[in-house]
Amino acid sequence: MPREVRRRDRLVALFALGVALFNPPVLWLFTGATVFGWPLLFVYLFCVWGVVTALIALTVERKGSWSNRANVKE
């Protein structure tokens, strides 16, 4: 079932994107400034974090589990 494989690969890509977004030098782009009085870095990190988490949820909560896919042994 390539459907789950594609979703797994999207998650891997999300990991790669996350590594880039959660670390310097990208983080340096958001340091120091504030948005509506809130620290921009704080807002940025939690927003990206929320989005990443939501994307994981959207991907894995769709019908068809990776575990079921490979769960052919029993």
């Binding site: 998650l11 310097p24 983080l27 809130w38 974090w49 994981i56 052919v72």
Partner: protein, 903 residues
């Protein structure tokens, strides 16, 4: 501010509640209505990751360094993106091989190596002790804060040494719910239930404090940020520092990514305690969401506390002091319980996981090696584990006492992270790179650990003043290149970043380098294939290469020592059912040996299980070449075709043999047909004459007397011929079937010859053939049937008469002594016999003569019968040319032995 008695009651009550939850969890597990069979509970149990370090330490770190507490939680979030590509694989492969710990996973992957298991265990224990100490310290500190704040009820002796009490309670909990039984699955549902509950308490209490800070103390979070930004010292926390801070950030992200997989307690809850693989799916986002939620208020709380709490307060206690300062002691108590939960769940799960590793990967192999592991093993195993829990907790306690107040919570935690992170390259290479070898992993992990100890552990202990300051400040042997904080001159980095860099560099380089230059053993190669290529565990029975001898009874007995007789029998019966076989007939093959190993692995780890099973299953070593041969299916096909070829060759040989046999049979059949046809001819010929003349006589009553007489004479003569023929044929048949009664006696050949000559005298006279007899007096006797010998001589003489010319015929009968026998010859002066026919003449119905002359009389069986008789006497019969031109028929008979005559 809070009465110490009240505090103790609250803490005790809370711990009591945890005991109840754990008890219910265990009970439900027994009855099959699992409390933890849910993806939400699973995700909450994963939150054991958030310890008091998170609860108190994050705020402390945020208060001093801003947002750089976050990588510790962003790393796991990133790893969970790899849930399907990586975590699921660990889960699947661990379940397939009944992995019980991180040490077991690596040992199993690298050829069920006891060395790997031991090394990993030692590192895990050493790395975890500071971390456990950190939890104990956090609890005691928080108790102290609650008690001491604003003078309160100071001086109570009980509260002065709280660490020991905390340690005792947590150890008791771990022993009660972590070592209740030895089980192949190694699951502790009670503990998981309690941990999940504690995770809720952690989150709720922390969020409560956060909301309190934002809503009650300040006018919303924006207010906190606004007021913080007004203070230059606090506004600094909004920023991420320069390149060095960036490198620290990246290092921490990496450490957290490694830790979420490698920490013994994380492996315990994520892999070992996992009830259903599918729970991981929802946990993939629930756990990051939990991390996000619990971290959301860290920064605001820190800022709020810094704005509220007097300067000089221990940053790691801000979560407690913030409500206390505001006068909300109830909230402070809730925060205390949250922190207690965080610490308790970590200590319990960590000690249980470590006790399994210590028992399975250190003590049991040692006992096995010394041969001390005998009957009644289960209580021994449980004892070892309980002792291990106590020892680990005690080590933590000792560490707290010895290493005081030097590092913050987070720093201690990071040192631990760096220790277990040494396993990370081994796991990743182990699961994705088949060529990764045991030697490489042993080298890499050892090197990494040594560097970790030197750069991170040593300074943390050394700062206590037990080590020469020279070592820390100037490096070993005074070499500045060996300074623990600036190895090889790499100065200026955060100690953790520095240590992680060097240890990881050496670790990874050694694994890759050594693996590229050292070959794998056969077992290693087999395990590597199972972990890298067949991580689904699809071929776990068939894939394992095993050759040797084993008795199922031995296996059952062995496993029974550890898991109990009934459970073991049940497992083997299940295996038999799976294969559709009678349990009694279950063969001890690779499958059952693997089953035994898997069951044992669940109890004592794969490396020890292998040693134990090998003790009853006498496994023969499988050479590398053989492994390749077995793995390579084409060679198997070649083997088949070779065998087929050999078989077809054998078949061809058999076919040729059969063909020959068939030809012989057909030849015999043809000969039989010929014989039947000949007999038929010989019988029909006289019958034809008899019938014809009989009918002529019948049809012609008026036939003249002369003719009538002539015809009747013919009928009589042909009848006689027929009779002779039938008699001869019966004779042949009787001799051939062996039903003739032979009256063997001592016979004088000369006497018999004389008798026969006398008897046939009239025949010779009738045909006017001369018969000369030459019989010397001293002729030896022979052993024969007298009548039969007589028959032979008569036959030879009458033959001679038959072929001798009328009136001019001359037949000579001679008997002479020879070396060891007697020869009788009958010579005639007839036409003789061509050399080509001389053998044939003794065959049945062969009459050789001048073909153009009329047929001679006789059945054609006489000579055949004669030869048979002579051969029965042990003699020979043959024909040769006579000097006179005719034929000489010879008979040779053996002389009767003296001994025989005496007897």
């Amino acid at each position: 501010m809070l009465a110490s008695s009240f505090l103790l009651v609250a803490a005790a009550a809370y711990m009591g509640l945890l005991f109840v939850i754990a008890t219910i969890g265990d009970r439900r597990a027994v009855t099959g209505r699992s409390l933890i069979n849910s993806s939400i509970v699973y995700a909450l149990s994963l939150a054991v990751y958030c310890t008091s370090w998170t609860f108190f330490g994050s705020v402390g770190r945020a208060a001093t360094r801003g947002l750089d507490f976050l990588p510790i939680y962003l790393g796991p979030t990133l790893v969970f993106c790899l849930g399907w590509a990586f975590l699921n694989r660990i889960l699947r492969v661990s379940k397939a091989h009944r992995i019980t710990s991180i040490a077991d996973l690596l040992a199993s992957r690298f050829g069920k190596s006891g060395a790997v298991a031991g090394l990993v265990t030692v590192i895990a224990v050493i790395g975890s002790v500071p971390y456990i100490a950190l939890q104990l310290k956090a609890v005691s500190t928080s108790l102290k804060v609650l008690h001491d704040y604003q003078g309160g009820l100071g001086g109570s002796g009980i509260l002065r040494d709280t660490e020991i009490w905390v340690a005792c309670v947590l150890a008791l909990f771990a022993i009660l719910f972590g070592t209740r039984k030895i089980d192949a699955s190694e699951r502790h549902e009670g503990i998981v239930a309690a941990v999940a509950f504690e995770s809720i308490v952690k989150l709720v209490s922390f969020v409560a404090v956060g909301l309190f800070a934002g809503v009650v103390l300040f006018d919303g979070f924006g207010d906190i940020f606004a007021r913080a930004s007004a203070e230059p010292s606090l506004a600094q926390q909004f920023k991420l520092g320069g390149p060095l801070a960036g490198i620290d950030w990246i290092t921490m992200t990496f450490l957290a990514m490694a830790a979420i997989v490698c920490l013994p307690r994380q492996f315990q809850v994520m892999v070992v305690e996992n009830v259903d693989e599918r729970h991981l799916d929802r946990a993939l986002w629930l756990f990051p969401a939990y991390l996000l939620a619990i971290n959301l208020f860290v920064f605001p709380i820190a800022l709020a506390a810094l704005l509220t709490v007097p300067k000089g307060t221990d940053p790691d206690t801000l979560v407690l002091t913030l409500p206390l300062v505001a006068g909300y002691s109830g909230l402070a108590l809730l925060a205390f319980l949250g922190g207690l939960s965080a610490a308790a769940s970590m200590v319990i799960v960590e000690t249980v996981a470590l006790s399994t590793m210590i028992c399975n990967d250190l003590v049991v192999p040692l006992l096995l090696r010394c041969g001390w592991l005998g009957l009644g093993t289960r209580p021994v195993l449980l004892g070892i584990r309980r002792a291990a829990i106590v020892i680990v907790v005690l080590l933590g306690f000792t560490y707290v006492r010895l290493v005081r107040e030097t590092y913050g919570l987070v720093s201690i935690g990071l040192v631990s992270f760096a220790a277990v992170a040494q396993f990370f390259p081994a796991i990743v290479f182990g699961l994705f790179w088949r060529r990764a070898t045991r030697a490489g992993v042993l080298t890499g992990v050892s090197l990494g650990f040594v560097v970790w100890a030197y750069t991170l552990l040593l300074p943390s202990i050394g700062s206590q003043g037990w080590l020469p300051r020279e070592l820390l400040e100037h490096g070993a042997f005074g070499l500045s290149a060996l300074r623990p904080s600036a190895l090889f001159g790499l100065d200026g980095l955060d100690p953790v970043t520095h240590g992680v860099f060097w240890s990881m560099l050496l670790n990874i380089t050694a694994i890759v380098g050594v693996s590229l230059f050292v070959d794998q053993s056969a077992l290693e190669r087999g395990q590597a294939a199972l972990f890298v290529d067949d991580w689904n565990g699809l071929k776990r029975d068939e894939g394992r290469l095993w050759r040797g001898t084993a008795q199922v009874a031995d296996l059952v007995q062995l496993v029974g020592h550890f898991l109990g007789e009934a459970r073991t029998r049940e497992a083997f019966a299940e295996e038999a059912r799976r294969r559709g076989r009678d349990p009694a007939l279950l063969a001890a093959d690779a499958g059952t040996v693997n089953l035994a190993e898997r069951l044992l692995a669940g109890a004592i780890g794969s490396a020890s299980a292998r040693v134990l099973v090998a003790s009853v299953a006498h496994e023969e070593p499988i050479g590398a070449e053989e492994v390749m041969r077995i793995l390579d299916e084409t060679s198997q096909a070649i083997e088949y075709s070779r065998r087929l070829e050999r078989q077809s060759q054998a078949l061809e040989a058999t076919t040729a043999e059969l063909r020959r046999a068939n030809e012989r049979l057909r030849e015999l059949d043809r000969l039989k047909d010929d014989f039947v046809s000949t007999v038929s001819h010989e019988l029909r010929t006289p019958l034809t004459s008899i019938r014809s003349f009989s009918e002529i006589l019948l049809d012609n009553p008026s036939l003249e007397e002369g003719r009538r007489q002539e015809f009747l004479r013919i009928v009589v003569a042909e009848s006689e011929r027929l009779t002779r023929l039938i008699n001869d044929m019966l004779d042949v048949a009787k001799i051939q079937s062996g039903s003739v009664e032979w009256h063997m006696e001592s016979v004088s050949v000369a006497a018999v010859a004389r008798e026969a000559a006398t008897a046939l005298g009239q025949l010779f006279r009738d045909k006017n053939v001369a018969l000369m007899v030459d019989l010397p007096e001293d002729i030896s006797t022979t052993l024969a049937d007298r009548d039969r010998l007589f028959q032979v001589v008569v036959n030879l003489l009458s033959n001679a008469v038959k072929f001798s010319p009328k009136d001019a015929g001359r037949v000579t009968l001679t008997v002479v002594n020879e070396a060891d026998g007697v020869r009788l010859s009958v010579a005639d002066n007839g036409p003789g016999i061509a050399p080509a026919h001389r053998d044939m003449i003794f065959e049945r119905f062969r009459q050789v003569g001048d073909m153009l002359t009329a047929k001679p009389e006789g059945s054609g069986l006489g000579l055949a019968i004669s030869r048979m008789i002579i051969e029965h006497f042990g003699g020979r019969a043959w024909v040769e040319d006579a000097p006179s031109g005719g034929a000489v028929f010879n008979v040779w008979l053996p002389r009767k032995r003296a001994a025989a005559s005496a007897a």
